[in-house]
Amino acid sequence: MNHHPADEVLQSFAQGELGDHLAAHTARHIDSCPRCANRALALDPMARAFASVDDPPVPPSLLAELLEAAAKPEVAPAQESGAEAPDARPLGWAEIGVGGLLLTAAWATLWLDPGIANLPAVLRLGRATWATLRALGPSLDQVVLLGTWTALLTVMLVGARMLQRDGRRSLGGAR
């Protein structure tokens, strides 16, 4: 809404007589226009009731206690523990990328040199699995490619998911 709404529109707005779409549109304008916000308040009879009320005083002891608590390190975010402790920090994109590269390297190592000597038990098991898979036919190259990209995508999606979840929590999760 580029222009200021007429008093009739603001009157209808204050009385809830506008449709949902126009009401939301007018609300957005009022949010960004102090002049219209005050015109709308002036047209709302109940607004006068609110304007005549003073704010209640805050107990001085409350502020003093909280200022004292704020100075203590155990109230700092990094020191938090228990149920209110922040969740694990989400993976960064660099970490996701490094993880993907390591996975790719692991796949490539087994693919290019399955006869690595002196492998630890876990890798020998991997190599045996790999040798079995390779014996099944040439289409295994495609399997390798697909597996590599699947692993990369999985890591990236998990990372994106963690970032997204952290973003939501920043608004509502601490409630």
Binding site: A24, A27, D31, L41, D44, M46, S52, V53
Partner: protein, 188 residues
């Protein structure tokens, strides 16, 4: 004369909140001094009891201080703080529902005598009584808009609801409040 609506926030507040999240003692004290009164006022108007409001404000501010690293600076700090406070008030309301004597219902049953001329203090009492007679979902939107001066879009963020839904709720809340005033023979 109605007061101009002044919306807080801005670069200075963003910087102070960021510094507080990094553990700066001065910035953390600023967060306490700037936001504790707002949290206490909102809690008091929602629960109607000074001691409960005191406890809610204390718990909420400690939670804010502990959770500053979770705050998303792309959103207004006010909506984040009021969101936490609102949930604390909801928890308190649920506790009250389990008590034998609900302070809110006692207020609802009170029928003030209509007055032709009332003092400012009496007007405040009348409004608080009428607000207490509203359900919490209507009371909170009126308190956030008229007392805490949040924008409509900010209230939508606090409630995590679409703007259209919030507007509908605010209109209904105003209508019901007006109805209570009329039933009691009070002029706003």
């Amino acid at each position: 004369m109605l007061a101009l609506r002044v919306h807080e926030g801005g670069v200075d507040e963003d910087e102070r909140v960021a510094a507080a999240a990094d553990g700066d003692p001065g910035a953390r004290a600023w967060v306490v001094e700037r936001w504790t009164p707002a949290i206490y006022r909102f809690a008091l108007r929602m629960v109607g009891d000074e001691q409960d409001a005191h406890d809610i404000a204390q718990d909420t501010m400690l939670r804010v201080l502990r959770s500053l690293d979770r705050y998303d600076p792309t959103r207004p700090f006010s909506t984040w703080v009021f969101g936490i406070t609102r949930n604390a008030c909801i928890d308190e309301h649920r506790k009250r529902q389990h008590r034998a004597h609900d302070a809110v219902s006692e207020v609802v049953d009170t029928a003030p005598t209509p007055l032709q001329a009332v003092s400012r203090e009496q007007r405040a009492d009348q409004l608080h009584d009428a607000l207490a007679a509203l359900s919490p979902m209507y009371r909170e939107v009126l308190v956030l808009y008229h007392f805490e001066h949040l924008k409509y879009t900010e209230i939508a963020e606090v409630l995590d609801l679409p703007l259209g839904t919030v507007m509908n709720r605010i209109f209904r809340a105003r209508q019901r409040l007006r109805g209570i005033y009329e039933d009691r023979g009070i002029e706003p």
